[in-house]
């Protein structure tokens, strides 16, 4: 009998593979996105199993909680004609197969070959009960502070690029400024005219 951890691992892996397959085979794009969310969630479960709880929580928080919500948002509003999308399937198949095989070979080289091995990590051995988050934070702000800051700068550049790509000059439409609305006083909008009462004859 397998121990509990192995059972959970195989269950999560099976779910992950199933979800990943459904992402590319589901006919309905919304279903595909939902299966992608399921795939992220099971991947987070696998990371928890590896005791990387910080990464797992951040995966759920950032990808499921924010990125995929907006993704779903966009996909729901798209009007995708699947038949039109599938028209070029056979003509694109050879190119797709070549790229797919290349990716499989690369993955195999990274995982299996002895030339592409990740060098033995020189991470300090931490106590088994140490807080994952704390250790990661300490490493990120000491040994890896430059890569960390570099990543932040790249993200900032991406944000500015996104704004620059979509910004089409100031809005020409009329819009209200709530601050002005709040600041307005009755005297600004209304003029009280005092008139003598006129007698009707």
């Amino acid at each position: 009998m397998m121990d509990f951890k192995t059972t959970v691992f195989f269950f999560l892996s099976a779910m992950l593979i199933f979800a990943a397959l459904r992402v590319i085979t589901a006919r309905n794009p919304v279903h595909a996105v939902l299966h992608l969310i399921l795939a992220f969630f099971t991947a987070a479960g696998l990371w928890v199993l590896l005791q990387a709880e910080f990464l797992a929580m951040v995966l759920v928080m950032v990808y499921i909680g924010a990125v995929m919500v907006l993704f779903l948002f966009v996909v729901m509003m798209l009007d995708i004609n699947l038949d039109q999308l599938r028209q070029g399937f056979w003509s694109y198949l050879p190119l797709g197969t070549v790229i797919g095989i290349l990716m499989v070979i690369e993955m195999g080289m990274v995982l299996g070959s002895r030339y592409f091995q990740v060098p033995d990590s020189d991470l300090p051995n931490v106590a088994a009960n140490a807080s994952n988050t704390q250790e990661l934070g300490a490493l990120l702000s000491t040994d890896y502070v430059y890569p960390f800051e570099l990543a932040a700068v790249i993200l900032l550049v991406a944000v500015i690029a996104a704004v620059a790509l979509t910004f089409r000059g100031p809005k020409k439409t009329r819009y209200t400024n709530p601050a002005d609305q709040i600041r307005v006083k009755a005297a600004d909008r209304m003029r009280i005219v005092k008139m003598p009462v006129e007698k009707q004859d």
Partner: protein
């Protein structure tokens, strides 16, 4: 307690630890659901009195059986599934909205020891699980195959994603001053300080030095739960009932349960993060769960009070408040607290 443990091991053998966790889950969820039922009663009474009415007073003494009667009515009603709806997603959406609201309670401590799972990253866990609540709403709106429901879902998605950022920044500052992501440690960190030494514990809690964040966190919490005045996702006067317009009977009731469970969760988190959790406000009274529950009721009262007081925000004003007011405010306060902590005036040593 020991005899109970021995008895359990005797009856269930090695599976007892799993059974014991299940019992603890039931002990959290059942009072929670009862709390939801009586929160609706409380809400109707409070809003009733604020509007110079009596509120429910027919079913049982003082109308106390009213929530039970409502529950039975909802259970017995038929669940209508619209013809054009996506059946599977339509049925699963209410569950997706209730499950995260309940799952978050796994790490909420009621006292030092009374907590289902005292994990190191409990605050992160709550953020992660809490961010999944939006899917129930979005899928309900899409699966209903109705314009009003879809509009409600769009509004909810945009609103929840926007306010999550301000909420996250507020939590970052709390964990900066507490030096921990563990909710129990965050409460412990609030129990010491200059004022706590003088016996005035309530002035040592996070609400005072982090007052702007306390306000931002609670208001964002109201927006996250889609409560008035941020209830544009339902907006009965504009889009009928928003995302759950096509739901009836128990399917609707599950959305209702999710909303109120999340309200209680936000109240509990606000009490833990800013109001010292189970610690007593003054030194001469003992700490205990009763304080935690009192603080939660106090915060829940604000939810109801706001609903009776404020008119619904216009949609663009909600977005402006979230992005242009709350996020800059929290970022500035993040820097203020960061500099404060590095200065000699640091009060969180």
């Amino acid at each position: 307690m020991d005899t109970l443990m021995q008895w359990g091991t005797g009856v269930f053998g090695t599976t007892w630890s799993a059974v014991w966790v299940l019992i603890k889950i039931v002990l959290i969820v059942l009072p929670l659901l009862l709390g939801v039922a009586y929160l609706t009663y409380f809400e109707r009474k409070v809003i009733g009195y604020m509007q110079v009415r009596i509120g429910p007073n027919r079913v049982g003494p003082l109308g106390l059986i009213q929530p039970i009667a409502d529950g039975v009515k909802l259970l017995l009603k038929e669940i209508v599934i619209p013809t054009g709806a996506n059946r599977f997603l339509f049925v699963i959406a209410p569950m997706l909205s209730l499950a995260p609201a309940l799952a978050a309670w796994a790490v909420v401590p009621f006292t030092d020891t009374l907590v289902l799972a005292n994990i190191d990253a409990s605050l992160l866990y709550i953020l992660a699980i809490g961010s999944m609540g939006v899917y129930g709403v979005v899928l309900a709106g899409w699966a209903s195959n109705s314009k009003y429901a879809f509009l409600g879902a769009m509004r909810a998605a945009a609103q929840i994603v926007s306010y999550e950022i301000a909420m996250g920044f507020a939590l970052v500052v709390v964990l900066m001053v507490s030096g921990s992501l563990n909710l129990v440690d965050i409460v412990h960190a609030q129990q010491k300080g200059t004022f706590a030494d003088m016996g005035l514990n309530f002035l040592s809690w996070n609400w005072l030095p982090l007052l702007p964040l306390f306000v931002v966190y609670f208001i964002s919490g109201i927006a996250e739960t889609n409560r008035a005045p941020f209830d544009v996702a339902e907006g009965e006067s504009e889009i009928v009932a928003g995302f759950h317009v096509d739901y009836s009977g128990m399917a609707f009731a599950v959305f209702f349960l999710a909303e109120y469970t999340e309200m209680i969760l936000i109240a509990a988190l606000t009490s833990l993060l800013f109001l010292g959790g189970w610690s007593s406000p003054v030194a001469f009274l003992p700490d205990g769960m009763v304080w935690m529950l009192a603080k939660m009721c106090f915060m829940l009262f604000f939810f109801l009070w706001f609903r009776a007081t404020f008119p619904r925000y216009r949609y663009d004003h909600i977005m402006r408040l979230g992005w242009k007011v709350f996020i800059p405010l929290t970022v500035v306060w993040l820097f203020v607290v960061g500099i404060w902590m590095l200065s000699p005036l640091n009060i969180w040593k």
